[in-house]
Amino acid sequence: MRFKNLLIIIFICSVGTRVAAQTWIVPDDQKAVVAPVKFTPDMQKQGEQLYSKNCQSCHGNMGKDNWAKLTPPPGDLAKDKAQKQTDGEIFYRITTGKIPMPEFRNILSEDERWSLIAFMRSFNPKYVQPNPVAKAAFTGRIVTLAMQYSDPMKKVLVTATEQLKDGQKGLASGVEVMLFVKRYFGKMQVGDIKTTNAKGEAAFEFPADLPGNKEGYVELTATVNDPKSVMMTTPANANLAIGVPTDKPSLTATRAWWSTRANAPVWILLTYTLSVLIVWGFIGYIVMSILRIKKLSKGDA
């Protein structure tokens, strides 16, 4: 009897600690989410490629239990612990992430995330996919941006057009637009957010001293500021010769201490080579001398 009690206590404690350790809670409405389409072999194939690029470095090969030793442990996604989640839970976790797992909201599209789940489920013979629920048709604004440079105004003009309900295209006013220029790491915003006028236009003053590449080209991107994702938008990209031509050689292009082997400083090359040649020259000389010792005695004998 006492032994049974002890077992119960151990059981409760172990369940308790497990629950405490598991703090990544998925909201119930997200848990219930199901895929918009039936999983296909093509989706599994796409998922496999996405898995090897985005997931394998931490989760390891499916079913091989060779995941990275991190805290908390990433675990093998073919195993029960991962597989007993609903599709909605997995989708939510891929989308939002939780340190150390990155969020894939902006890295993988929704379709790609579902392909990953299709791939993951292919390792679970017991899995039966719930009936798909197609996404409701999109009813918000569908905006496309275009951009050009106006030389007399010294401004970048971004034009927004939208698809109207009757299928026609019209100029989109009241759209918040941002302009970025590509730099070494990431993008730099040019000016503030502008709202398109009645002609669907937003004008950005372009700084006169912004460095471009050798020919003065800069890479520009215009995007819609839509933090709540209520619109379907297409950004505009352009490569324009409006920057200051700049020819800065890369740090490894010239001879330097920190550079590549081909660009080692002359003084290091000389010092190293000469030292080696001199010392090994003497070693060679001594070896020759040793051989002469032998010759000398032959004449004597």
């Binding site: 920190w258 550079s259 003497f282 001398s289």
Partner: protein, 442 residues
């Protein structure tokens, strides 16, 4: 000296210095023990080759563990050849003659194995050649490989050259020589017949080698110190690391030589050649280099200790009063300060006491390398997040320990073979110093 005296003396010296050249039971037992131990260690290495470096305790924080501290120790011990033969020898210290070959043997053994120690830290040892194929001349790693190879060849030549005359004497005069050894000695003697021309070549070659040995030896340990000092890390980021390592190397090497002297004197019955005077003088050498090393130690800890940049503060705190404090103070007091104090007194420079002191110094020297290499890595400037607890603190595994023992066994095998089949004390030089100016080869 009459002709008969001459003959008597050379015969006696030859007999004294070569009577150990025979295969006896003790030798076979000792070599058998070493071979079996080595095989066990090689099995451990085969596990590492198969399963990867994960079998060792090194992880993402401490990537340079016992293997690297072992490497520094081996390079350090090999430096003694330069101090004894080149620095003291070129000054003209005559009492050194019986010790030079011991020092060179130790230098050759440790330098030969140092390269292998580095390989034990490689996950893909078959890519060793990439150091040369893709190495950058700006990188101390390329310099390190170059100077260690060069130093090994120089030491080997310096070991061999004074042996030529010895070989000539042995293969002619030692009757008890095993028959299969005779042709080997004859080949190695290069038909040396003690002609002035031959002696001139040998002494000139030795002189060139001794001069080359000084910059080569200084380079090998300075470059090894740069592997650490060119890295911006607390405890390594130091401009005195070169001389700090070199002086530390002399301490380890001198201790190793004294230990070897003691065992050769006892086992090969060389009391008449390795006298109390030699132990006394080597004790003085050990005390001197230890004092220099102590001086660099004080610099190494006192200067950052006053500035206490944050990473330095953490590092020094761990050494002085934290996790590594016990090892640190044992090494500094037991392996450096107490030996210096004892060695100041003549009675502790007698063979027995100086042997015990040297053993303490040598053990301290190994743990000193451990303290230089490992603790700083446990406190990186940018701590890695979300890793298991065993990534943060280094503790060597059994497999790693066995792999680290293997180089010591190899060194012992090399020293045993060289000292067993060649005179431990230069035969020809000793004879010349005893006033025998010409040895008849007929």
């Amino acid at each position: 000296m009459t002709m008969d005296d001459n003959k008597l003396t050379i015969d006696k010296i030859t007999a004294d210095l070569t009577h150990h050249i025979r295969i006896n039971k003790g030798f076979l037992l000792w070599m058998g023990f070493l071979t079996v131990s080595l095989l066990i260690c090689l099995y451990a290495y085969s596990l590492q080759l198969r399963n990867g470096l994960g079998v060792a305790g090194i992880r993402d924080f401490v990537t340079w563990g016992m293997y690297l501290s072992n490497f520094v120790f081996f390079v350090a011990a090999s430096l003694i050849g330069m101090l004894i033969s080149a620095v003291l020898g070129l000054i003209g210290m005559k009492w050194l003659t019986p010790i030079t070959r011991i020092a060179e043997t130790i230098a050759v053994a440790f330098a030969a194995v140092a390269g292998l120690v580095i390989v034990s830290d490689m996950g893909r040892p078959e890519r060793l050649a990439y150091v040369f194929i893709y190495g950058r001349p700006q990188s101390p790693i390329l310099w390190d490989v170059t100077v260690i190879t060069t130093y090994f060849v120089l030491s080997l030549l310096l070991l061999f050259l004074p042996m030529i005359a010895d070989m000539a004497i042995i293969h002619r005069k030692v009757a008890s020589l095993p028959s299969w050894l005779k042709p080997i000695y004859k080949t190695l003697s290069l038909n040396f017949t003690d002609q002035p021309e031959q002696n001139k070549i040998i002494s000139r070659s030795i002189r060139i080698l001794l001069i080359l040995l000084i910059p080569a030896a200084l380079s090998i340990h300075t470059v090894t110190s740069w592997l650490f000092a060119v890295t911006s890390r607390a405890g390594w980021d130091s401009t005195v690391f070169g001389p700090y390592f070199v002086s530390g190397a002399f301490v380890a090497g001198s201790a190793a030589v004294i230990i070897a002297m003691y065992f050769f004197r006892k086992n090969y019955k060389l009391q008449d050649y390795l006298t109390d005077l030699h132990f006394n003088n080597m004790g003085k050498v050990l005390a001197t280099v230890s004092l220099v090393y102590l001086y660099f130690n004080i610099n190494e800890f006192l200067v950052p200790g006053y500035k206490l940049k944050r990473a330095d503060a953490v590092h020094l705190q761990e050494l002085f009063a934290g996790k590594d404090a016990l090892m640190f103070w044992l090494v500094q007091i037991g392996g450096l300060i107490l030996p210096i104090l004892f060695l100041l007194f003549r009675r502790f420079r007698k063979p027995g006491p100086v042997l015990l002191i040297s053993i303490a110094v040598l053990i301290g020297a190994w743990f000193k390398r451990y303290l230089i290499v490992i603790p700083t890595q446990e406190h990186p400037f940018l701590p890695i997040q979300h890793v298991p607890a065993n990534f943060m603190h280094y503790s060597p595994t059994l497999i790693e320990t066995l792999i680290s023992v293997a180089p010591f066994i190899l060194v012992l095998i090399i020293i045993t073979l060289i000292s067993k089949f060649f005179p431990v004390i230069p035969l020809h030089e000793t004879a010349v110093e005893k006033g025998i100016d010409h040895i008849k080869f007929d």
